[in-house]
Symmetry: C2
Subunit: 221 residues, 2 copies
DNA sequence: GGGCTGGTGTTACCGGCGGTAACATCGCCG
DNA sequence: CGGCGATGTTACCGCCGGTAACACCAGCCC
């Protein structure tokens, strides 16, 4: 059931309001106003505020619903019993498939409104922070990185998440290629193809004309 | 054509207003109001609107000023006559040094306010989009990537930028290590260390969560 | 029944936001 | 002198997030 799953029928009115908010945000984007959401639900603003406190509370409740499925999918992909390269590709594909299925929702999850001025400027929205933590945990528990493993796992978790966020955003926007190809491109980057590829004949030598040794261009797949 | 004017002193009033806006944003963060900026400049709102059209115009002019130096530094680092790994490290260090020097300004550049609903939700702020384009160009012109070079260069440009953005954000916020170490961590990621590292003994067998500790770790290689 | 409580709903308002219209000055230059 | 283009003002608009104050209706216990 990859669709928007109702979280908890314990509070049916709340779920109903969240569904209305979902519809409006799907239509108008993440900047939808509280008035618009209330109108879509057939009610007026104060009820929303009674249920969710403030706008952030509504957005948070909304994102938590959608985050669950994506996060669960990513987590499952991260522990799939595959060769590491295949596992990584599986995770990448899972994320891209998720954002492809519901772009507006994905925008809400990944690019929330400014929010509270208290927290410092996090690049990663809460949903992505959770994904980053999943990756960090997976790397730390699955890959032998020596004494720096804690630092590397944390830095890589954030870095990989940001990489996939930015690249996925661009891919979703301009659709330069199919999804599997995009997965390949990103996995190649993670697999050090940037390091392994040969130099191109220097078109603009800054100081010295190139004395290049030969480096083999191998795809380590 | 009242297009983006350069930062030359040909329009001293404009520069003066931008300086005031700079001060306010440094103090109050990127969400500073137009009233506050006008007050800091000792004037009132309509003058700001005469000069910059709307809030986005002001922010754009402001970011363009700051972007120039960072972008120039990154561009220079991208064409440094070094071994590729050293060049990459140099670029990473340049970016991290830039955001370390002026965190508030960096936040303005990398995490702008929502902006117009017309454009689709870009993950990358304009300044970062430019950096991504620089990386794309450098990769395309320096690295031999075969027939897919255009796609790979573009995807990697965005991906690397997003990676450094997210990781740099985290680093700046929690300062888990020194700058050179962070540069190493990110360069290692780009250099395929994730692919090259050995597996760790599987602590969590993915299929059977049974409390049976006698399950032997299968060797996937 | 009476009264209490709790959820649902309303209208009307607040301060602040981005943005604009209309009007008042200056200095400069033909 | 007259115009003209910057500079500046006050006062306003519509919308926003958020809040008071009040009304209604169920159930539920005494």
């Amino acid at each position: 059931m990859p669709s928007a799953a109702p979280a908890n029928p314990g509070e049916p009115r709340r779920e109903q309001l969240l569904n209305a908010a979902d519809r409006v945000i799907r239509r108008d984007g993440p900047a939808a106003s509280m008035n618009a959401i209330a109108a879509e639900a057939g009610i007026t603003k104060p009820i929303l505020y009674r249920h969710f406190g403030d706008r952030n509370g509504l957005i948070r409740a909304l994102t938590e619903r959608h985050t669950r499925s994506l996060l669960a999918a990513v987590r499952a992909a991260l522990t799939e019993p595959l060769e590491r390269r295949d596992r990584v590709e599986h995770v990448l594909d899972t994320y891209l498939a998720g954002i492809e299925a519901r772009p507006q929702v994905y925008r809400l999850l990944t690019h929330p409104e400014p929010g509270d001025p208290g927290g410092a400027g996090n690049a990663l929205a809460p949903a992505l922070r959770q994904i980053a933590e999943e990756i960090t945990g997976a790397v730390r528990s699955q890959v032998d990185l020596g004494p720096d493993r804690d630092l590397l796992a944390e830095a890589w978790g954030r870095g990989i998440t940001g990489m996939v966020l930015a690249a996925g955003d661009w891919w979703l926007e301009s659709r330069p290629c199919s999804r599997p190809r995009m997965v390949q491109a990103l996995a190649d980057l993670l697999w050090g193809r940037l390091a392994a590829a040969a130099d191109l004949p220097t078109a603009v030598p800054p100081t010295a004309p190139a004395p290049d040794p030969a480096a083999p261009a191998s795809d380590p797949r």
